[in-house]
Symmetry: none
Subunit: 424 residues, 2 copies
């Protein structure tokens, strides 16, 4: 009998030196859980043949399925195939199918193949190559003494699709009684996890629905999970309860991002936006434009570090800068109003603050941030005091501004609906 049904082995010096946190194990674990499987063991070893080999020997004897990630690249420290060959007593040979995959990858991109890349087709004799659509290194599959092993690259964006396309279907064929879990993720902004936990009506959730939490600062992810045939119904009921208590704070769901949702809302509402960023230095613009289709709503953005830029592009009156300083409600208001006038957009948002570590004063400690929004009905502004280091303050400021834009778009859409309704 096996001690472990499914085990993961990750390889890489950086995983054991504290340099890099392994995300592959978590990714695999989550996909397995959603598909009704459970990971029973995860092991990490350095890029050393001795340790990879020791770990493989152990897992082959104690697990039913082993997923190995890392060490399939083209450099001297990529030793997984060699360790596998030695451990399983197979010679290492050029696998013609794998070689054809490597060649095809380079040919499709009009790239010159390096001699080193041929190493990536050196596999244990009985290995069956697994296609890698995102990179040069093919994976491979081996069966040995009742244990089935899958070898995947360590780069997360190559590993994940290969796991889903090449490993999961085989696991599903082998283990017929797996009960997939349905999961819905809600991305909440503006409340801390303990507060959210208290607001969730745990005792009223339908039995069989469980709640898990995740964090993607400053967002808190609430995950509802259920299995079986009625999973969707159960999740619908749980979702209705969750939305009643926390709906206001849900910025996005599942694969959506808050910035993507806000972009879609603006585009859908036909609203245009301009941004003036000081302490966030373009972070909010970069977030919004990381999503396709941003040109439909984003007219322009300004990163105005220098006072001259605030005066020149945003028409902030010099006397405001002199009297109140660049980090002030007055300046935030003037930035937003000036920007809206210059750009002719429906709304203009300005952020000015002290992200730190320098620039703090007694009245305005690090984390002091003013956000202003200018629209047809006037200019709104507010002072915030965010905590944490420079990058946290910048990220909080960008998300809070995004939240302002989201609420503006929501109100706008409600107004439109009301007006449209009253016309009928």
């Amino acid at each position: 009998m096996n001690d472990y049904d499914i085990a993961v082995l990750t390889t890489g010096d950086e995983l054991l030196s504290g340099e890099l946190t392994d995300t592959n194990t978590g990714t695999i674990a989550e996909i397995l859980a959603l598909n009704g499987f459970r990971l029973r063991c995860s092991l990490s070893v350095p890029d050393q043949e001795k340790e990879i080999s020791a770990a493989l020997s152990y897992l082959v004897g104690h697990a039913r399925f082993v997923i190995v990630t890392g060490g399939l690249g083209s450099t001297v420290d990529d030793l997984t195939a060699r360790a596998a060959a030695r451990t399983l007593g197979q010679p290492l040979v050029i696998n013609e199918e794998a070689l054809a995959m490597v060649r095809a990858w380079f040919a499709a991109r009009n790239l010159q193949m390096e001699p080193n890349n041929e190493r990536q087709a050196l596999l244990p004799q009985q290995a069956q190559p697994l296609r890698n659509r995102q990179g040069t290194a093919p994976g491979f599959y081996l069966s040995h003494q009742g244990c089935e092993l899958f070898f995947l690259p360590g780069v997360p964006k190559e590993m994940k699709p290969m796991f889903e396309q090449e490993v999961l279907p085989l696991l599903r064929r082998r283990v017929r009684d797996a009960v997939p879990l349905q999961q819905r993720i809600y991305k909440l902004f503006g409340l801390a996890e303990p507060r959210i936990d208290r607001m969730i009506p745990h005792h009223r959730l339908p039995p069989g629905v469980n709640v898990a939490f995740g964090l993607d600062y400053p967002l808190v992810l609430v995950k509802l999970r259920a299995g079986g045939r009625e999973a969707n119904d159960l999740l619908d009921q749980a979702e209705a309860l969750l939305i009643r208590e926390l709906g206001d704070h849900i910025m996005a769901r599942d694969g959506e991002t808050p910035e993507g949702m806000v972009g879609k809302m603006l585009t859908g509402a036909g609203l245009t936006l301009a941004l003036a960023e000081s302490c966030t230095g373009g972070l909010l613009a970069a977030m919004l434009t990381s999503q396709p289709g941003a040109s439909a709503f984003l007219e322009r953005g300004a990163v105005t570090y220098a006072d001259s830029a605030k005066q020149d592009w945003l028409k902030v009156p010099p006397q405001i800068l002199q009297q109140y300083g660049a980090v002030s409600e007055q300046c935030a208001r003037a930035m937003a109003a000036g920007l809206r006038k210059a750009s002719g957009t429906d709304l203009a948002v300005a952020i000015t603050g002290i992200a730190g570590p320098d620039g703090a004063t007694v009245d305005k400690p690090v984390g002091t941030v003013y956000i202003a929004l200018a629209a047809e009905n006037g200019v709104h502004a507010k002072r915030y005091q965010f905590s944490g280091d420079r990058n946290r303050v910048q990220r909080m400021s960008a998300f809070m501004s995004l939240e302002w834009i989201r609420r503006f778009a929501l109100q706008h859409m409600e107004r439109e609906r009301d007006q449209h309704g009253s016309r009928l």
Copy 2:
């Protein structure tokens, strides 16, 4: 002989369901590395006696030191002590010293001890308790057949000080010849990993220096490592060889970031910068301003999605937009030149391109990007064809622009040095 010198075993269902990422392994790994030890294996299993026991059996036979975290609490799923007792063939008994520690913890806080907390003193017979100053659960130490095991709580803020106070001193006494490993990291831009690997003069590197690679797209990290008294000398020699072959491509080292280095270079050279970003949407500005001190060199940045913004803020002539389009060398040049004039900075950099997925034409497929740099001596521009999805194209464009700025600053500093030299 042991396969692993030091191994870590973390226990907890949530580590294997994708809900929580294990940070204890990384914490231990980093402390070990700094102290000249190396973690050779990390293992995670669920809170199940069967799996904990299987993992302990394996590690006792294959490692010299084992650090176990988790499962020492007072609830039913805290099974580590029981699994250890069974695996090592010892009865589970109330350890009086441990019980006194638990009692003292509650007494010191004027808290009522729960009957469940007594369970935390139930340890394998030969266990020696380890004091936990941050929580109720004592840890414990066991020696078994040449393997020394340390059991610590899973809560990171309890685990870390216990590891430092209770485990590290014993490791230091046992392993007198612990050789702290020196590591130097070089962050390279513009070459793929196989190409870099071929350019490194592996056979000329001093013996004892080893090379490892990492990836932080689009940067390739080259890591040189050596131990022993001569580590620094060996690394100096290896570094000199590396710099001779690859020095041009090194954008940053160790804890530095390329954007931080470029910022420091600009500040040091007294150069000021303005940015005009179209397809990168503020990403470059956000990168540069994520570093403290950006206000010393960054005067302003523009995210000019709409043509009106290009005309208004960057003074791009309308006929250039009409004749050549916004994604053109002519437009990039006009953006950089106009921006430099508007801002009065030493250099101005403009980026315009098609990040995708929309906007491509026959002549200008997704990934077509123009970068222009305007300085006192004129405007330089170049067309690039980057591959990958929207975010890769944006990231490559930002890094390539950063590289232009870096090279400009380097040349500027060389010129200054030459002029200064000739004046002597």
